[in-house]
Symmetry: C2
Subunit: 337 residues, 2 copies
Amino acid sequence: MTATIHRMPRTGAPSLQPMMNLVAEDMNAVNSVILARMQSRIPLIPELAGHLIAGGGKRLRPMLTLAAARLLDYGGTRHHKLAAAVEFIHTATLLHDDVVDGSAMRRGKQTANLIWGNNASVLVGDFLFSRAFELMVEDGSLKVLKILSHASAVIAEGEVNQLTAQRRIETDEDQYLDIIGAKTAALFAAASRISAVVAERPDAEELALDAYGRNLGIAFQLVDDAIDYVSDGATMGKDTGDDFRDGKITLPVILAYARGSDADRKFWKDAMSGLHGENADLNHAQALLRQTQAIDDTLARARHYGQRAIDTIAMFANGAAKDALIEAVEFAVARAY
Amino acid sequence: MTATIHRMPRTGAPSLQPMMNLVAEDMNAVNSVILARMQSRIPLIPELAGHLIAGGGKRLRPMLTLAAARLLDYGGTRHHKLAAAVEFIHTATLLHDDVVDGSAMRRGKQTANLIWGNNASVLVGDFLFSRAFELMVEDGSLKVLKILSHASAVIAEGEVNQLTAQRRIETDEDQYLDIIGAKTAALFAAASRISAVVAERPDAEELALDAYGRNLGIAFQLVDDAIDYVSDGATMGKDTGDDFRDGKITLPVILAYARGSDADRKFWKDAMSGLHGENADLNHAQALLRQTQAIDDTLARARHYGQRAIDTIAMFANGAAKDALIEAVEFAVARAY
């Protein structure tokens, strides 16, 4: 006899559903905060923000805050405001990203910059970002403020780094990991970590949750970058080949370039510098990615970080919360199949 | 005999020099913080930020923080970091403003968006904004964080409000005051107020300094908006007629429109909606502004708010700091002459 609780074997593909079920009630509270605090006497603000916020996002980052709080048996409600702040920071970066990338589609809908213009997107992003800090200040934890203000600076640094690397085929896997670690994983890490702060848990647990979020975030972005070459717009909610046309040097390209013939490398170099923007070129790129197994190996890398994420939370008690956090990782890495 | 100290009668035009002298040593410390904290391992960040930050700005907002601290006889150094945070918030909004307005010139130099592109300006602005919050968190005053996060949200709201009002000739003086109160005066108010927080002075003094900054900020923006129609580029450091071409409804336009003939009103309506962008049209606009005394009366409004700013600090002890704060107001309202 042993007290260890084993996870039930799962039938079917991994899903976010267990995590969504776990935090459903808390998420209602978070949604109320989000709705209340995106309001403004300037009507364009809730109109534009609502388009994106109500637009079918998974609320993955605030969900991590809520699920981590469950894992720690936190019984309070402080994390509701903080999870809303996390979602506001994320929404602000999405609004600015879509301006920077000139994106036309997000979550299966037209982007805010396409509907209301770049200017409105920049300014409403600024508003949501400020509002996020107001929410954190209301909570009053300087430690949470430190974690999230630092994450915000790291995200912006990562975005600038990505801009610098754009169209530069010399970008290597280290620089790529550096970029996605900053632009994506930093907020996943902070979102997971802050629950340990409000639950007043020891540093080791805070750091474990930080590492969980960081590794999950890297896995998530790796899969996103693979999907950009294999999915159709309907599955993905945004345009396939966006990264290709924008000359974003993601891991699939880095691997295909490193493994390709001289002719292939010339193709990638030209394509990333903006010489190939046609559908035929995207088809050729996809063929090269298949030949070099670049997509498969990008997904293998994602599984590596996913496994690390799962291992970081081994120290916590087994149960529904831990199972949900593990399955969320499995879902994140399995999305491309 | 009386103990009241009277201000020395001044010879010549009012100037910022007394305030600059008053805070010179503190400003060196602030500049060190600014230089140290705009650094990043991503070279584009200090390069772009430095272009604007080292680009001959008056550092008026951090100067208010420092001068207010002198007024209160504050003996510490906490305000150095906070003044740097104020300047970072201001710089971030300038970077985003110039993107939103498509500006080509600022402080007599090409704008960052023109040199490095809109994308870099948006993202470096985000970085500086996050860095501002990191500085405030390091200081550790939740009250200061509350004041500045709220001011940031109000600024963004004001910018969106201005965007909404753009090209709408129906915008009236109340809405205009609402816009400049948010986009400009909120940060002047917060910059002045936070010194009372770090100096641990009573609420009444905090509110007096807030009102000083707010009224000064409104006066300052009124004069700026007048200058946009009367100055040449060399005096102003940015292009004359920018507001005219952008269809920004500022007080000179509101007054000239209200006081004009039917033909004049048609001209303004067309011009603000973007039908007139030629130099000849700007000349006609300037003639109408003269006929209706719209510039003079905009400056009279500025003097009104300037006087209010001066009266708000009557409660504080006379001396060099108070004199400098008063002369800064007189300088702000006299700039257009």
